[in-house]
């Protein structure tokens, strides 16, 4: 055996729609016209919500947030593939997916306006809040996967998001390892948007792809064109079907691009050049999906205009709600430290309220 090859591996890349919107019919997923149009609307909504939030942020009406423009295929394609009972354990750049899983846009605005109220909504037992500590949430996803398997819940899996930067964290490794050892129903989506703030993908890790990191765990891994919503949908569906049928976890790298700044606190011109961004705009996911829908006769200028107006109206209505939102229950922090209130917390709450009322007396 002296020097013997004992194992071989490969990584593949999937594309269904090319940059012109031409479909590979052998790989075209089975989606009804309604589903396709609904998916398109969600993508438009994600884009428009993002753009409106940028304005609101610039006006000081919400705080810092991270736009997802450019990643709508990766985000909404994933959510489209999810089944009713699936869990979503996101990071912080998947607003579109959150909305598709039932999170009202208002909640998101509240979150970015510094309200804990933005972290929950009726019926979100299976959508965890925004997770800021990069990659830590992947382990929660694996634990939820364990619960699902433990209970024998049918047709139920977890979808969890992380960024290209997040693959460098120890928790990414521990999550993939636990998931594969336990063979739990989890689909990990690595949104490779080429940047972690100012750090480019090429310097984040020495590997050619992020998909190949799955090999370390003998886990199925694939790279998809992350600007191709049908490829994303197809790959995630496959991962979920594998998960439902006891085949364990999968890793999907969605190769896409962060078209805007990292967050509104960031100035991307400091570290990346305009040509790169311009080139990326040419490959952005709405263009080709729109072309595909037009080719299919599902979309035309008129329909597009109607849809845009509809989305705008929806957003306008929510922003109005936001403006009417009032800070209530200022002492909520004391109410939810523990499930059972401890006398010492109650003492501090009383102290807090006393300080407040003295301040009000003094000021008013």
């Amino acid at each position: 055996m002296p020097l013997e090859e004992i194992a071989t591996f490969s990584v593949s890349r999937l594309q269904v729609l090319d940059e012109q919107g031409k479909v590979d019919s052998a790989l075209e997923p089975e989606l009804t016209d309604e589903q396709l149009m609904s998916l398109y609307r969600h993508m438009v909504m994600a884009r428009e919500a993002d753009q409106r939030m940028l304005k609101l942020q610039r006006q000081g009406r919400i705080g810092t947030f991270g736009p997802c423009t450019g990643q709508e295929a990766s985000i909404c394609g994933t959510a489209m593939a999810m089944g009713e009972k699936d869990w979503l354990v996101g990071a912080f750049r998947e607003a579109g997916a959150r909305m598709m899983r039932g999170e009202p846009f208002l909640r998101q605005l509240l979150y970015y306006n510094g309200f804990e109220e933005g972290n929950y909504f009726a019926g979100n037992e299976r959508v965890t809040p925004v997770a800021v500590i990069v990659a830590a949430q992947l382990l929660h996803a694996v634990g939820i996967g364990y619960s699902i398997k433990y209970r024998g819940e049918k047709d139920t899996a977890v979808v969890s998001f992380v960024g290209d930067g997040g693959t460098s964290e120890g928790d990414f490794h521990e999550a993939l390892n636990f998931a594969s050892v336990w063979q739990v129903p989890v689909v990990f989506i690595v949104q490779n948007n080429q940047w972690a703030i100012s750090h480019p993908r090429s310097k984040q890790t020495h590997s050619k792809t992020l998909a190949q990191k799955a090999i370390a765990y003998d886990m199925p891994g694939i790279q998809v064109d992350g600007n191709d919503v049908l490829a994303v949908y197809r790959a995630v569906k496959e991962g979920l079907d594998r998960a439902y049928s006891g085949g364990g976890p999968s890793l999907i790298e969605t190769d896409t691009y962060r078209l805007m700044m990292h967050t509104t606190a960031d100035d991307a011109t400091k570290y990346r050049n305009e040509e790169e961004v311009e080139a990326a705009w040419k490959r952005e996911p709405l263009i080709r999906f729109k072309a595909y829908l037009e080719n299919k006769g599902l979309l035309d200028e008129e329909k597009q205009a109607a849809l845009a107006a509809d989305v705008k109206a929806e957003i306008d209505a929510v922003v109005k709600e936001l403006d009417e939102w009032q800070l209530q229950n200022i002492d909520q922090s004391f109410e939810h430290v523990f499930g059972d209130k401890h006398p010492e917390i109650a003492l501090q709450q009383a102290e807090f309220l006393d300080e407040l009322s003295r301040e009000e007396d003094a000021n008013g």
Binding site: A136, L139, G143, S147, Y150, A175, H342, I345
Partner: protein, 326 residues
């Protein structure tokens, strides 16, 4: 009633609760086949199967991170960190998630999780196996931190911890694991988390301690009582956070003198907080400064130098006498 040591008592609590509640699962390194390196989970794998007693890969953030996921999805995991010295590899999971899920979602998501870990010195162990870092956890809002001191309260508190709606860091004084036995009632006994226990009432001086330090403290108290006939109130803190300020302060109001005995280093520790709470509320009742008998603010020495580093009965006796004579 059976006379159990602390290892057996902890094992009993888990076995009881697992029999009662199928949502309770155990996970950690070597907790299954091996029964835990201190045998605290011995026999549970055989009894409850490998879906409920999970031998995990070697990764602490993995253990606690996945346990958080289990907890938010309806299970009640009891995670073991093999030694508290390795808890810092998952500290961000506690600080960032276990302690916050309830608060950040106003109760929509909760983390009913127990993280067990043996802590403390004097077992001739290697580096990172002897520290006493309860304050590191107790400083974090949203975490409960419990330390039993005897087989009986270990069993009753662990039951409470598993049933608690929130995350409880449950630190076990490994030096007391097999040091002595105690009658543990057969029927279920659950103690309230968040309450200190007045082990013995007294009028002249209050002594506060917890965990492995309770035994040398009791010995010291006995010595002083015998020698001087002093009436000493002895308090077992039991819950480090949220701390039962009322019981402590009430006692010191009565006695006017207080000694705190802890194994951990001094700065920003539980003893600091006890003194601060007495200051905050009842300073004027003090007839002498609160005396601290603690580990020093130095890196925990290896075991050849451990004996002199750790508080023992002699140091405690001297502290009590000095405080009485102040």
């Amino acid at each position: 009633m059976a006379k159990l040591n602390m290892v057996q008592a902890l094992n009993l609590a888990m076995a009881e609760e697992m029999a009662r509640d199928r949502d309770v699962v155990i996970l950690g390194e070597d907790v299954g086949l091996d029964g835990g390196v201190f045998r605290v989970t011995e026999g549970l794998l055989e009894k409850f199967g490998k879906e409920r007693v999970i031998d995990t890969p070697l990764a602490e953030s993995g253990i606690v991170g996945t346990a958080i996921g289990m907890a938010i999805s309806g299970l009640k995991p009891v995670a073991e960190i093999q030694f508290s010295g390795f808890a810092f590899l998952m500290f961000h999971q506690l600080e960032g998630y276990a302690s916050r899920f309830r608060s950040r979602t106003h109760g929509q998501f909760t983390v009913p999780l127990v993280v067990r870990m043996p802590y403390g010195g004097k077992v001739r162990a290697l580096e990172h196996h002897s520290e006493s870092r309860e304050a590191s956890f107790a400083h974090l809002p949203g975490l409960k931190v419990v330390i039993p001191s005897s087989p009986r309260n270990a069993r009753a508190l662990l039951l409470a911890a598993i049933r608690d709606p929130d995350t409880v860091v449950f630190m076990e004084p490994k030096r007391s694991y097999r040091a002595f036995r105690e009658e543990v009632p057969e029927e279920e006994e659950v103690m309230e988390i968040g309450k200190a226990q007045v082990v013995e009432a007294g009028t002249d001086l209050t002594v506060i301690s917890w965990g492995a330090m309770m035994r040398p403290t009791i010995a010291a108290v006995e010595q002083v009582k015998e020698k001087r006939g002093t009436s000493i109130e002895l308090i077992d803190l039991l819950t480090m956070a949220p701390m039962d300020g009322a019981t402590l302060v009430d006692s010191v109001r009565k006695t006017g003198r207080c000694v705190v005995v802890q194994e951990a280093p001094r700065s920003c520790s539980i003893s600091s907080e006890i003194i601060a709470r007495i200051n905050d509320r009842e300073l004027l009742y003090l007839e002498a400064p609160v005396k601290r008998v603690t580990g020093y603010d130095v890196v925990t020495p290896y075991f050849a130098r451990e004996e002199t580093y750790l508080p023992g009965p002699e140091r405690i006796v001297r502290a009590i006498e000095e405080t009485l004579d102040f």
